[in-house]
């Protein structure tokens, strides 16, 4: 009887002891996590709006938790003064012009204060310092922007849907064009021709500008050559032609893109025009013409390359390119 009583006392003792140990362990884990027993400094910041920040919320620096909000008080007429405890360890990274900002852990997470370290040339903060405040990017504003984007997207996809629907049904000129494989081939060729022409224009223009740079170097062979005014005027004329050509090509492609935009608009004159087969046929012709003209443009450029004056320059350029390889 005595021994069983003793045994009971021991078991009760162990039971209670373990319970208290678990409780104390809980307290210490919690304290460790909340940095209750870590040396800390106190920083202040005054916000216009803390967006639901609460005592105990975290303070982050570069995404690392360095402290917690200690106290929230009203300040002045409608501002809010936040006192936060920040680990002493983090003090050396926070400089005098550091900023504090209200943010949140996730899109719908807890509110936090994010500190940015400030200018590293300035001394570090001391306990009791007041941090500058950076206005937060509020979720509401973000959502508003997002909403505007959404509306635009809906409009664009709506337009696209109408266009593609019409194209599939073979409605209008473009539809007719696209269903006719020959026509499509033509269009493709035209586009390719235009493309190569404009590339050529580009190249020629670059070459010309390089050439004209060389012209300015005194005493060169070319320099001497250019003192002859007759040659110079001829050259000037060539350059002018090239410029005209390039402008024409640019306006042509611009026109094409406008035409594409307007194709969908039924009220538009072109739209109406393009709705019958006749005008589709005429468009076909136009495109053929366009192809021819772009071919001609190419030829012109080719001719320009063979111009006696510039031949030497082009050859030299080709050699240089060969060397580079």
């Amino acid at each position: 009887m005595e021994t069983s009583e003793n045994k009971r006392s021991v078991i009760v003792g162990i039971f209670v002891f373990l319970g208290i140990v678990l409780f104390v362990a809980g307290i210490f884990t919690l304290a460790g996590q909340q940095k209750r027993f870590v040396k800390s400094i106190e920083l202040n910041a005054i916000f216009d709006n803390v967006a639901g920040l609460k005592v105990g919320n975290n303070v982050w620096f570069s995404g690392v938790k360095i402290g917690t909000v200690k106290k929230i008080d009203f300040y002045g007429t409608s501002q809010v003064k936040i006192k936060m405890n920040v680990e002493q360890e983090a003090q050396k990274y926070i400089h005098k012009n550091a900023t504090a900002q209200i943010s949140s852990e996730g899109f719908i997470g807890n509110r936090i204060i994010v500190i940015e370290g400030g200018n590293i040339n300035l001394p570090v903060v001391e306990s009791g310092d007041r941090l500058h405040v950076k206005k937060a990017l509020s979720t509401d504003a973000m959502l508003e922007d997002l909403q505007a984007n959404n509306r635009n997207l809906i409009e664009i996809t709506g337009n696209l849907k109408v266009i593609s629907g019409k194209m599939a049904n073979g409605e209008g000129a473009i539809g007719a064009l696209l269903t006719d494989s020959l026509m499509a081939g033509n269009l493709k060729n035209t586009m390719a021709g235009l493309n190569s022409a404009s590339q050529n224009i580009n190249r020629t223009a670059v070459s010309l500008s390089a050439f004209s740079n060389k012209l300015n170097t005194k005493g060169g062979l070319v320099d001497e050559l250019l003192t002859d005014t007759g040659v110079f005027s001829q050259l000037e004329g060539s350059v002018g032609n090239i410029r005209k050509l390039s402008v024409a090509a640019a306006s042509l492609s611009e026109d094409l893109s406008t035409a594409g935009q307007k194709l969908n608009d039924k009220n538009n004159a072109i739209g109406v025009l393009l709705n019958d087969q006749e005008s589709a046929a005429s468009l076909k012709k136009t495109l053929t013409n366009l192809e021819t003209s772009s071919q001609k443009l190419d030829e012109n450029l080719e001719a320009l390359q063979h111009n006696f004056l510039l031949r030497g320059f082009f050859r030299k350029k080709a050699k240089e390119e060969e060397k580079m390889k």
Binding site: V16, G19, I20, L22, F23, G26, T29, I108
Partner: protein, 260 residues
Amino acid sequence: MKKSGKYIISKKIDGVFTTLYDVYRFLLRFFKEVLFPPYEFKELVKQCYDIGYKSLPLITLTGFITGLVFTKQSRPSLAEFGAASWLPSLVSIAIIRALAPLVTALIAAGKVGSQIGAELGSMKVTEQIDAMEVSGTNPFKFLVVTRMIATTFMIPILAIYTGVVALAGSFINVTQNEQTSFSSFVESSLQNISFLDLFSSVIKATLFGFTIGAVGCYQGYNSSKGTEGVGKAANSAVVVSMFLIFIEEILVVQVVNAIR
């Protein structure tokens, strides 16, 4: 006693107030007896053993299941937000703030409360309490005070075990589904817990323990004669203490939220 105007209001309502007065006297007597010697340490240890240690398996098993199931059931609604990583935090708030003390108290009310009610009730009915009194032992001190102290101190300790085991249950479920490591579980589960939560929970459990002990002892000690009285005492010990536990839960939550 006068025949006319025998009851101040009516028999029933008068009865309620008489009971209230009896309860008040009962509690007053407890506080008087608990302060003055002799102290029944041996009996107290025995009661702590019976009420605390012997309830441990049942209560911790319940706690474990509670933690596990609660986690499992909460997952879908959080996963809908893609916030399943918040499970530990959510579950630990629920467990530490509410479930641990409440589940412990409810199970203890069922197990310990009924046991106390039935034991004291049968002791009363079979005159064991009178026998104790005439053999020079204060039965109130020996039976009631020891049991009430034992429940008051054992329920919070059981609640601590329940909380730990419930969190363990929750961890097992979380680690199976989200592959969360132990340290990260601890980290995130304690993230939103404050000292106030911890202490208010223990205080709540203490209050629940006192309630279970007081109700069980009152019902048993004042049970009517006959075997029916024993059953009634055991039954009302459970029902009344569970009811009071919920009332107290509401009140304590109000107070804690006022402090928070």
